[in-house]
């Protein structure tokens, strides 16, 4: 186990030196402390090379200290918990954490992929578009290899074992960011009584105050943050969420947050959610998201050991780490001087302070006076070293970064850079906020004009701590006032932080030809790529982004976007705001898919609907299928029988004796009111007002465009009371449709439609013995053909349960649908089964039901596929003359009466042949021929009744085709059958059996 050689003797308020934590990186066992991130622990151990870059496989180290990090992304965890692309700077250390580097082969130190980097000149931005211009076949081959080079981490291979949770919440005020500004806002709004949720990405509150020494009310920033936290915790109306990121801003004040509850633990306890996905509706929001330091580009500025200055300070302040022994600090602002003193005080050798500004600021002068090595008007032109920095080339430069003098090399193992700050305007932008450009800061800040929410603090370009606190209090107060709360602002604390001073922008230092200066570290975009994009006219920032992939990595360009577009602006000779920004999109920081899923996958996400007899079906071999969300048994597995044999048995039972099927899934609507009959006349093609009470009628409904929408039987229970059945598929949409007509189109009709699908369990018994069975089940009901004829109904006890009995038939046999309160469904089912034993009763499923209806030529949505008119189905006669109905007007549109439409027909296979599933009908018996499809099958079955395979289908001019001998072809299945076109009514076309 190595020693933490880079750790200072003392200090680092974020770590607990009494709690060592051991972990591994690329199999090496290392040690850090509780409170460390993986990045700080790696640095503590002097580990710098942590990964390889996306495209050129260049060695990379740690650049930053938070979620902006573009380089240090690792595999964390093992097995099913191994997660790729995890930011070392965000991942907290836990005992036995396993980390490994990504995107290299065979090893991190020696990566063959780096050959791409060496031949990098061949791979400028957009090189793919210029090469491999070849046939798709060859491209597929090249692509395979290219794909392997890309990507970053290895994807997991197993399902995620962790638990995830959703949480919906409401508040008056959401505050994003728990730095000084956010804390001040929360204190003010919280004290006024507003319901506040304060959200901070990091484990601790305090923001930048934790990363550099600052003073508030005479306390250290860190202590003040802790005190603020205690105050907030004492307010019942304030909820503080740390380790939580505001990910997205959506319509109508919806914010998504991702809370990491378990990522800092070795293994969350089984019941504990690893991450919680919050959807917060907030009446108002304050974005106190701070600013992200930006680097300055110079040659080889991606070498491990080049870091952001604020990160270097932060590692010292928070983790007690000196990120190098000898540093060259390079900045365009005054923060570098405070940093230099802190680092020097902690024992780092500050080789030089390279201040790009042509003038000597007050802070610079003081530093000079203190004998610090200050080089104003200078820039770092290149980093020296490969896998680690060992020197910095420094030269005088002009305001645009152009070399003005001789370069000298300073020995160092750390180059800390500060090019100013980019306000974290992401959330403001996501909320449709516009951007304003501040020339003095060379940064985009939220444009308050028309902004939906308030931004405060560093995100507005206020880099001074006192100003941040003041803005925070003001924003919190204003929000409370807007809520109508009486807000007496707590007194503003006094504060001192460091000063930035005048910071004339510097994006890049001129580099020698051929050298690479990185703008986007993660996606390996260099200043030259920006130049190339410009040269080739990809000059819109959006083209720049897409051509070079600038800002498209997992960091979404947090440290790089502004620099890239500033460089493009310069090339175009336009001011930066004229060039504009690319679009900020959710999420602010990537988060796991599973957090968003929150376990709502499978049945937990999409419920399964089960009938009251479900458990019986399941226990008796039912093989289920999904039918519009319902689980329906297709058939019942029976030992010794193939599925087809079992289905045949089920069919024959119905034809010969009696079968029972669970049809509870059919949609059922209770329709009542004085105008109910009139209403039905207007929605069905046929008439219902003439229907006698106690009788039912089959009806067809159209869409407004004249195509068949749905069909079913509606029974008239009373003059003003109907019971409508719909297909399983349409039960939900039918209700909406009818309500639409009643509420919007014909508000004068007095009708109530009430969905009652859930209320009724429905079993259909059918077959020649169905009447006898019903007689046994319902001794008190007169079931004779006279008392209960086809399309008649009765009420009474069935199996001792109050029931509605409808006599109607889908199978073509004598059949009854028995409806009971669903709580009694299983009782009815069992009652039917026990009484059925005496009648050779068989239970059948949807497959047999399908076969029975195909034999009868009844259509379903397979036939009425949304393109079909009643006439196409041979039901033209059902469109009653002398009354209008929905869709009728369309039936006379030219194309609905044009010749050659497809019409419903039957197909019967030659003896012993099997009509394949999904067949097309054609003239040639050749599976490979290109030929005209004359029609197609819509549903097919083996008819045990007829001993043949049969099908329904649609054929051009089908009714004139009866008798034609053709072929049913399924080339994709390699199956075919000779078929004859016949009437779709295969079985008992006169319908005598069902009426008997």
């Amino acid at each position: 186990m190595s020693r933490q050689v880079w750790r200072t003797e003392a200090g680092g308020h974020g770590i607990d030196r009494k709690q060592p934590v051991s972990f591994s990186f690329n199999q090496f066992r290392l040690e850090g402390y509780a409170g460390d991130t993986v990045a700080s622990a790696l640095l503590a151990n002097g580990v710098r090379l942590v990964g390889r870059s996306f495209k050129y496989h260049r060695p990379r180290g740690i650049l930053g200290i938070g979620s902006e990090e573009p380089n240090a992304i690792l595999h964390i965890g093992e097995g099913a918990r191994r997660e790729p692309n995890t930011r070392a700077t965000v991942q907290e250390l836990y005992q036995d954490l396993v980390a490994s580097s990504q995107n290299h082969w065979p090893s991190l130190k020696f990566d063959l992929g780096a050959a791409v980097g060496l031949a990098g000149a061949l791979f400028p931005a957009g090189f793919y578009y210029k090469t491999f211009i070849t046939s798709p076949k060859r491209w597929l081959w090249y692509e395979k290899h290219i794909r392997r080079m890309a990507g970053l981490g290895e994807p997991p291979t197993e399902a995620d074992p962790d638990h995830y949770e959703h949480r919906n919440a409401h508040c008056d005020l959401l505050i994003a960011g728990g730095g000084p500004t956010g804390l001040a806002a929360a204190l003010a709004a919280g004290a006024a009584g507003a319901k506040v949720i304060l959200v901070e990405e990091n484990p601790a509150l305090g923001g930048q105050m934790l990363l550099a020494p600052q003073q508030v009310d005479g306390m250290s920033g860190q202590d003040w943050a802790e005190q603020a936290r205690a105050q907030l915790d004492a307010m019942p109306n304030v909820q503080v969420l740390t380790r939580t990121s505001v990910a997205g801003v959506y319509e109508h004040d919806l914010f998504t947050l991702v809370e990491r509850l378990g990522d800092h633990l070795a293994e969350p306890e089984a019941h504990q959610p690893r991450q919680r996905f919050w959807r917060v509706r907030a009446s108002d929001a304050i974005f106190a998201t701070g600013a992200i330091e930006r680097p300055i580009a110079f040659a080889n500025n991606d070498r491990p050991g080049v870091m952001l200055l604020s990160a270097v300070r932060g590692y010292l302040e928070r983790y007690g780490i000196l990120a190098g022994k000898t540093a060259v600090l390079f900045a365009n602002n005054d923060s570098v001087y405070a940093a230099a003193r802190e680092l020097a005080a902690a024992g780092m050798r500050v080789e030089a302070i390279v201040d790009s500004r042509p003038f000597v600021s007050e802070a610079a002068a003081l530093a000079k006076a203190d004998k610090l090595h200050v080089l104003t008007g200078h820039g770092v032109t290149a980093a020296r070293g490969m896998r680690e920095v060992h020197g910095a080339d420094v030269a005088p430069i002009d305001a645009n970064g152009r070399l003005k003098g001789v370069t000298k090399t300073l020995p160092c193992d750390l180059i800390a850079v500060s090019g100013g700050w980019n306000p974290a305007v992401h959330l403001h932008a996501q909320s449709r906020g516009r951007m304003a450009f501040r020339d003095d800061l060379a940064a985009f800040v939220p444009d308050t004009d028309g902004a939906a929410y308030t931004s405060a603090g560093a995100v507005t370009g206020a880099y001074d701590l006192a100003e941040c606190l003041q803005q925070g209090f003001a924003a919190g107060n204003a929000a409370a006032k807007a809520l109508g709360l009486d807000s007496t602002a707590p007194t503003l604390p006094t504060a001192t932080g460091d000063t930035v001073g005048e910071a004339p922008v510097l994006w890049a230092v001129q580099a020698p030809k051929g050298a690479r200066c990185f703008v986007d570290f993660q996606n390996d975009v260099t200043t030259k790529d920006v130049g190339l994009a410009h040269r080739e006219n990809y000059v819109s920032v959006e083209h720049l982004k897409r051509y070079t992939t600038l800002g498209m990595g997992t960091d979404q360009g947090k440290t790089s976007n502004v620099a890239g577009l500033a460089m493009m602006a310069a090339k175009r000779g336009q001011p930066i705001p004229a060039v504009g920004t690319t679009t900020f999109r959710p999420p602010y920081t990537p988060f796991t898919f599973n957090a968003m899923v929150g376990g709502h996958t499978g049945e937990i996400g999409n419920s399964v609907r089960r009938t009251a007899a479900h458990d019986w079906h399941a226990a008796n071999g039912g093989v289920f299928t999904d039918a519009a969300g319902w689980a329906r048994p297709m058939y019942y597995e029976t030992e010794g029988l193939t599925p087809q044999q079992r289905i045949d048995e089920e069919v024959l039972a119905v034809r010969k004796s009696v079968g029972v099927v669970d049809v509870s899934t059919l949609g059922k609507l209770d329709i009542q009111g004085p105008d109910a009959a009139e209403f039905l006349d207007r929605v069905y093609t046929n008439r219902f007002s003439t229907l006698k009470v106690g009788r039912g009628r089959y009806g067809v409904m159209l869409r407004e465009d004249g195509r068949v929408y749905d069909d079913g039987v509606t029974m008239r229970l009373a003059d003003d009371h109907f019971h409508m059945t719909t297909t399983t598929n349409h039960s939900g949409s039918m209700f909406q449709h009818l309500e639409y007509l009643l509420q919007v189109v014909w508000p004068d009709l007095r009708v109530f439609v009430t969905p009652v699908t859930e209320q009724w369990f429905t079993a259909a018994i059918s077959g020649p013995n169905a009447r006898a069975l019903l007689a046994d089940l319902a001794p008190a009901v007169d079931v004779s053909n006279e008392a209960l004829p086809m399309m008649g109904m009765a009420e009474g006890l069935v199996a001792g349960i109050p029931a509605r009995i409808f006599r109607l038939s889908f199978s073509g046999e004598i059949a009854y649908e028995i409806n009971v309160d669903a709580d009694y469904g299983l009782a009815l089912w069992n009652g039917i089964l026990s009484a059925g034993a005496a009648h050779d009763l068989k239970v059948y499923g949807t497959e047999a039901m399908g076969t029975l209806r195909i034999e009868k030529g009844h259509f379903t949505h397979a036939e009425a596929d949304g393109r079909i008119t009643p006439d196409d189905l041979g039901l033209g006669g059902m469109v009653t003359k002398g009354k209008d109905c929905i869709g009728k007007r369309s039936l006379s549109l030219p194309d609905l009466v044009a010749p050659g439409r497809k019409q419903l027909v039957g197909f019967i296979a030659a003896e012993g042949e099997r009509i394949p599933v999904g067949a097309q009908i054609a003239a040639l018996d050749d599976l490979d021929a290109v030929q005209e499809a004359l029609g197609h099958t819509t549903s097919q079955a083996y008819s045990a009744t007829l001993g043949r395979h049969i099908a329904l289908g649609l054929m051009k001019d089908g009714r004139n085709m009866h008798g034609r001998k053709l072929y049913a072809l399924s080339p994709v299945l390699g199956e075919r059958a000779a078929v004859e076109v016949v009437s779709p009514h295969f079985y008992d076309p006169e319908g005598g059996r069902q009426r008997g």
Binding site: P124, K130, I133, P155, E251, R535, M596, M634, G918
Partner: protein, 421 residues
């Protein structure tokens, strides 16, 4: 083409630090008049200009783009290319388009990274199997490639796929179009732009069309008004996707189109593990992995009229929930970016490519989910129609007039409800 792209050219240019590459396309000032104007610099508009110039000898053409070329749906789609359609008009049209794709990189001398890695449709019930197999059989009868995939085939092709039957949407089987796949969306726009430019076409960005000028007597088109001034032409093609209604309205034409929001999103990039493009009707999503490694996912429309080019939550949540059931290993990948497009949803789900009831005015629109794969075919057909003032047989059925006779090209049978297509 003035400067050919190739590995040799790249090597040569590497020696000069890539400083002698020419503009991929120029950015000229608009001329006062052109022989033809195309409104909309998406893939379709650019392809139309390219084919007009290349195949119909017209050179004095401009493409007018409101923003930056390729920034509309071309730049925000899930890049699935296939020709697995059921109905005649669509099947022939999309197959023609697919054939153009197969030669596109070479034709344009620009690698559009068209990858025929297979498009797979999974089936989750027997009914779905039947309907899908039927559609694929109809393709085979037309000579279009289509194959059936068993669960064993799927396990081999997509090892990460969850083939357990004990899930909400178990996979019964699948069908695939092996020639289907995906392409690099931006490259399609840029490649066509460069191709068209080199044939003399003016590509004019930041030029919004604000009006269509017509002859007061004949009613025929005489030109357009734009944010950069008036431009004359007696042939104007509209290829503006979700903005078809707005632009057509400039010539007093109402369309059977509604504009809806469709979204897509990507995960962080990872090493390749998804080999094909998989789409599923039952669970409402499609998924593939880009060459850069991101998992690219899309789903269905949000379902209400919208011109907001922003992602929303519900449909993305729905897609992810279902996708993690089919590919459980993606659960720990991270959601990196979401966005949306402005979709031109037609009333039957099929496009309108052809003449409009104003002389000299043409359109290609109503592409719904499917217009990226149509890019070459649409450009090809619209160019033909504009050049000859009559449609080609391939787009003869895709008229606006079909809505007057109710001749619906309705692949789904969903009826006149755009959100349902």
């Amino acid at each position: 083409m003035s400067q050919r792209y190739s590995i040799w050219a790249l090597a040569r240019n590497a020696l000069t630090h890539h400083e002698s590459w020419q503009k991929a396309w120029r950015s000229p000032e608009p001329k006062p008049a052109y022989d033809a104007l195309i409104i909309g610099g998406g893939g379709h508009g650019l392809a139309t200009a390219y084919y007009l110039a290349k195949l119909h000898g017209m050179r004095n053409i401009a493409v007018l783009e409101r923003g930056w070329i390729g920034g509309g749906n071309t730049g925000r789609n899930t890049t699935i290319v296939r020709s697995n359609y059921l109905l005649d008009e669509n099947a022939h049209f999309y197959e023609h388009s697919l054939k153009l794709w197969e030669g596109l990189s070479e034709d344009l001398n620009y690698n559009v990274m068209f990858s025929q890695r297979k498009v797979i449709n999974t089936c989750h019930t027997l009914g779905e199997r039947e309907a899908t197999v039927r559609r694929y059989n109809s393709m085979r009868l037309r000579g279009i490639d289509a194959e059936f995939l068993t669960r064993e085939d799927l396990a081999r092709l997509e090892p990460a796929m969850n083939l357990s039957m004990d899930v909400r949407y178990p996979i019964v089987c699948a069908v695939s179009q092996p020639r289907g796949g995906s392409a690099r969306h931006d490259a399609v726009a840029w490649g066509y732009a460069r191709g068209a430019d080199s044939l003399g076409v003016d590509i004019i960005q930041n030029c919004e069309v604000t009006g269509i000028d017509r002859d007061p007597v004949s009613g025929a088109v005489t030109g357009v008004q734009t944010s950069r001034g008036a431009i004359k032409s007696d042939k104007v093609g509209i290829a503006v996707a979700g903005h078809s209604s707005q632009v057509a309205a400039m010539a007093d034409i109402r369309l059977p189109i509604e504009t809806h929001l469709l979204q897509a999103f990507v995960s962080e990039p990872v090493k390749p593990f998804l080999n094909t493009v998989v789409s599923t009707g039952a669970a409402h999503f499609y998924i593939s992995q880009t060459d850069k490694g991101e998992v690219l996912l899309g789903g269905e429309l949000d379902g209400y009229n919208s011109y907001s080019q922003r992602g929303t939550l519900p449909s993305v949540e729905h897609v992810i929930a279902n996708a993690t059931e089919m590919f459980p290993n993606i659960g720990r990948l991270r959601f990196m970016r979401q966005w949306a497009g402005v979709m031109d949803m037609s009333m039957d789900g099929s496009p309108i490519i052809g003449k409009l009831p104003v002389d000299g005015l043409y359109m290609s629109g109503g592409w719904c989910y499917g217009g990226f794969k149509a890019t070459p075919g649409s450009g090809w057909c619209l160019a033909w129609t504009m050049a000859k003032d009559e449609p080609h047989a391939l787009n003869a059925g895709h008229t606006l007039e079909r809505f007057r006779t109710s001749y619906m090209i309705d692949e789904k049978g969903a009826g006149p409800y755009p959100k349902a297509h």
